[in-house]
C-alpha cells in the first residue's frame, strides 16, 4: 500500500487538474464543492482535531472571508485572487481577536464563545448596511471565472491538507496533541500552551476565509443568511469526525464520502438530513471517537501521520 498510495494520489490530482477541459457544468460545480468541504473540514481539524478545543462557529471565518472579498471586489474593484487572499487575512485577524481572550483559558470558554460569534457577525453585517448592503445582500459585477476558481479552490484544499500533513508530522503538531491529551502535563513540560493554541487557531481560520472569498466570487452575490449558516459549521464538524479527527486524510475522506452521500441519497429527503447529521455526531462520539481512519489505523497498523 505504501508504494501504491503516492502514485494513486498523483493520478487523482492529475485527473482533477484536467477535469475542467471535459467536465460538465454540474460535475465541475460538484467537484468545486468537494474542494471547499475539504478545505473547511481540514481547517476545523487543525484547531479542534489537534488541540481538542472545539470550534462551534468556524463558519464565521468563511463568512468573514466572503464579506471581505465581496466588499473589496464590489466597492474597490479588486481582482478576485487578491480579494481571496485578503479574505484569508481578515479571517486570520478575526481569529487572533477572538483567540486572544478565549484561548488563554482552559475549559469550555472557547467553544461557547465560538458558538456566539456567528450570530454576532451576522448581526453586525446586517447592521452596517452602507458597507455590506445589509439584508439586501451584496452583488459583485458579473464575471465567469468558474474554471479559475475551481483551480484556486483545489489549491486551497491541497494546501490545507499539506499543512495538516506537515503539522502532524512535526514537533509543533506533537505539542498540539499533547495539549489535547493533557494540557496541565503539556504546561509542566514547558510548552507555552496559549501561544500554540493561538497559532493553531490562526492557521485554522485562513483556509475558511479564502474558501469563503472564492465562494462569494463564484456566486457573485452574498447575503448574511447565505454566508453564515450554522449548517456549514455542522457539516465540517460531521465530515471531520466521521473521517477521523486529528488525522491528515480523515477530513478529506469525510468530505468526499459525506458529500457524495448527500448528493446521491439525502438530497431527496432534505428535512431528514440535518437530523441525521446530529445523530451521526452522537454516534461517532460514542462509538467511533477516532473516526473511520482512526479505526483503520488501529486495525492495519497504519502510520500515525496518515
Amino acid at each position: 500500500v505504501r508504494r501504491v498510495a503516492p502514485a494513486a494520489l498523483v493520478v487523482v490530482l492529475l485527473a482533477l487538474a484536467v477535469y475542467p477541459t471535459f467536465g460538465t457544468g454540474y460535475g465541475l460545480m460538484s467537484v468545486l464543492q468537494v474542494f471547499m468541504w475539504i478545505a473547511l473540514a481540514g481547517s476545523w481539524n487543525l484547531i479542534s482535531g489537534l488541540t481538542g478545543y472545539v470550534s462551534f462557529g468556524h463558519v464565521a471565518f468563511f463568512g468573514a472571508g466572503a464579506y471581505t472579498a465581496g466588499i473589496l471586489i464590489a466597492s474597490s474593484g479588486w481582482s478576485w485572487p487578491l480579494a481571496a487572499l485578503a479574505g484569508g487575512g481578515a479571517a486570520g485577524v478575526l481569529a487572533l481577536g477572538i483567540g486572544w481572550p478565549c484561548l488563554r483559558l482552559k475549559g469550555p470558554y472557547f467553544a461557547i464563545a465560538m458558538l456566539g460569534l456567528n450570530e454576532v457577525l451576522r448581526a453586525l453585517v446586517s447592521y452596517f448596511e452602507r458597507l455590506t448592503g445589509g439584508g439586501n445582500g451584496l452583488s459583485m459585477p458579473t464575471l465567469d471565472a468558474t474554471v479559475p476558481i475551481y483551480y484556486a479552490m483545489g489549491l486551497t484544499a491541497v494546501i490545507v491538507t499539506l499543512a495538516a500533513r506537515l503539522i502532524i508530522g512535526s514537533r509543533f503538531g506533537l505539542r498540539l496533541m499533547t495539549i489535547r491529551e493533557d494540557e496541565m502535563a503539556a504546561e509542566a513540560m514547558g510548552i507555552h500552551t496559549f501561544r500554540h493554541k493561538l497559532l493553531a487557531f490562526l492557521l485554522s481560520a485562513i483556509g475558511p476565509g479564502i474558501a469563503g472569498a472564492l465562494t462569494a466570487r463564484d456566486q457573485g452575490y452574498i447575503e448574511p443568511l447565505s454566508v453564515f449558516p450554522l449548517a456549514t459549521t455542522i457539516t465540517m464538524i460531521v465530515m471531520t469526525l466521521f473521517g477521523g479527527k486529528g488525522t491528515v486524510w480523515g477530513p478529506v475522506l469525510g468530505a468526499v464520502v459525506l458529500f457524495v452521500a448527500q448528493e446521491m441519497v439525502w438530497a431527496r429527503y432534505p428535512y431528514i438530513h440535518p437530523l441525521l447529521f446530529g445523530a451521526i455526531i452522537v454516534a461517532v462520539v460514542l462509538a467511533m471517537p477516532r473516526g473511520v481512519l482512526g479505526l483503520l489505523q488501529t486495525k492495519y497498523r497504519l502510520p500515525r501521520t496518515i
Binding site: P101, G116, E119, F277, V285
Partner: protein, 292 residues
C-alpha cells in the same frame, strides 16, 4: 439618532432589565448545575428550553389550558426528557475529555432542533394569552413579563432553598464540590447526575414556557439561550450558584441599555463584547469562583 434620554427612560430600562434578568438567571442556573455537578457544558440546554416552550404552546392551543398552569407540566415533561437523555447518552461522556461532551451535547442539540422542525415546522407560534401592560406612574410593566418575573423569581428561590436546606440539595452540592468525597459519603453519584440533568432541563422548560407567552417561538430559538446562559454563568463565576442571579440581572440590564443607546439589533453584539471583556479581565467571574 438624536433622542433625548430622560430619567424616566433610564428607570424603564432598569425595570425591564431586572424583569428579564431573573428569567436569564433561572435558565442559567440549570446550565450552572449541570456544569457544577457533572463538569459538562450542555450545549443542548437551549434546545431543551425550546421543547418546554412547545409543550406549553400545544397544551394551550390544543387543550385550551391556561399557559401559566402548563408551567409545571412542561417542567415535569422536560424533567423526564432530561433524565432519559442522561440515562441513555450523556452519562457515557462524564469522565471523557471535554471535546467528547461538548460534541455529544452539540449533536443532541442539532437533532432536537431539526426533529422539532420536522414535527412542528419552522412557523412562528405565539401563545396570545396575556398582552398589554400595566402603567404605574411613568413606567409601563408588560404584563406577561411581570408574571414571568414572578414565576422565575419563585422557582429560582425554590431551587436555592432546595440546594441549601434539603438533604438532596446538599448532596447535589457535595457532588459538585468533590465527586470522590461525595461517593465516599455514600452518595449514589450516578443517580445524582440524572437528577441534576432532569432538574436543569425542568428549569430550562420553565424558561421556555414563560418565554412562549412573551414572544413568538420557533424551533431555532434555543441556540441563543445556550449562549446567554453560559454568559450569565461566566459573569457570575462558574461554580458559584448565587453568582448566576447577579449575572442574569447584569445581562438583562446591559441588553436593555444597549437597546436604549444603540439599537435592539446590536444587543446580542453588546452581550458578546461583554463576554469577551469578562474573559479578558476577570475570567473567574465578577463574584470570583472556583477556577476550573
Amino acid at each position: 439618532m438624536n433622542v433625548v434620554i430622560t430619567p424616566a427612560m433610564i428607570g424603564q430600562v432598569i425595570i425591564s432589565g431586572i424583569l428579564s434578568g431573573v428569567l436569564y438567571a433561572m435558565v442559567a442556573l440549570g446550565l450552572a448545575l449541570i456544569f457544577g455537578v457533572m463538569r459538562i457544558i450542555n450545549v443542548a440546554h437551549g434546545p431543551l428550553l425550546m421543547l418546554g416552550a412547545y409543550t406549553t404552546f400545544f397544551l394551550y392551543s390544543t387543550f385550551g389550558l391556561n399557559p401559566y398552569l402548563t408551567v409545571p407540566i412542561s417542567m415535569a415533561v422536560l424533567f423526564v426528557v432530561g433524565l432519559a437523555l442522561e440515562r441513555t447518552l450523556v452519562f457515557r461522556v462524564i469522565d471523557a475529555p471535554e471535546l467528547s461532551s461538548l460534541l455529544l451535547t452539540f449533536g443532541i442539540s442539532i437533532a432536537l432542533v431539526n426533529a422539532a422542525q420536522l414535527a412542528f415546522t419552522s412557523d412562528l407560534r405565539a401563545v396570545e394569552y396575556l398582552t398589554g401592560s400595566w402603567g404605574i406612574g411613568p413606567f409601563a410593566f408588560s404584563k406577561s413579563r411581570v408574571v414571568a418575573f414572578v414565576f422565575a423569581a419563585g422557582l429560582t428561590a425554590g431551587a436555592f432553598l432546595f440546594l441549601t436546606y434539603t438533604r438532596l440539595g446538599k448532596a447535589v452540592r457535595a457532588t459538585s464540590q468533590s465527586r470522590e468525597v461525595a461517593m465516599v459519603c455514600g452518595i449514589d453519584v450516578g443517580a445524582f447526575h440524572r437528577l441534576t440533568f432532569g432538574l436543569a432541563s425542568a428549569l430550562a422548560a420553565a424558561g421556555g414556557a414563560l418565554i412562549a407567552v412573551i414572544v413568538a417561538i420557533q424551533p431555532e430559538m434555543g441556540q441563543i439561550w445556550t449562549f446567554k446562559s453560559f454568559l450569565v454563568i461566566v459573569l457570575g463565576g462558574a461554580g458559584n450558584y448565587p453568582g448566576a442571579l447577579l449575572g442574569g440581572m447584569l445581562l438583562g440590564l446591559v441588553e436593555q441599555l444597549a437597546s436604549l443607546f444603540l439599537t435592539t439589533q446590536l444587543s446580542e453584539v453588546v452581550a458578546y463584547v461583554l463576554l469577551v471583556l469578562v474573559l479578558l479581565v476577570r475570567p473567574t467571574g465578577l463574584l470570583g469562583g472556583r477556577q476550573t
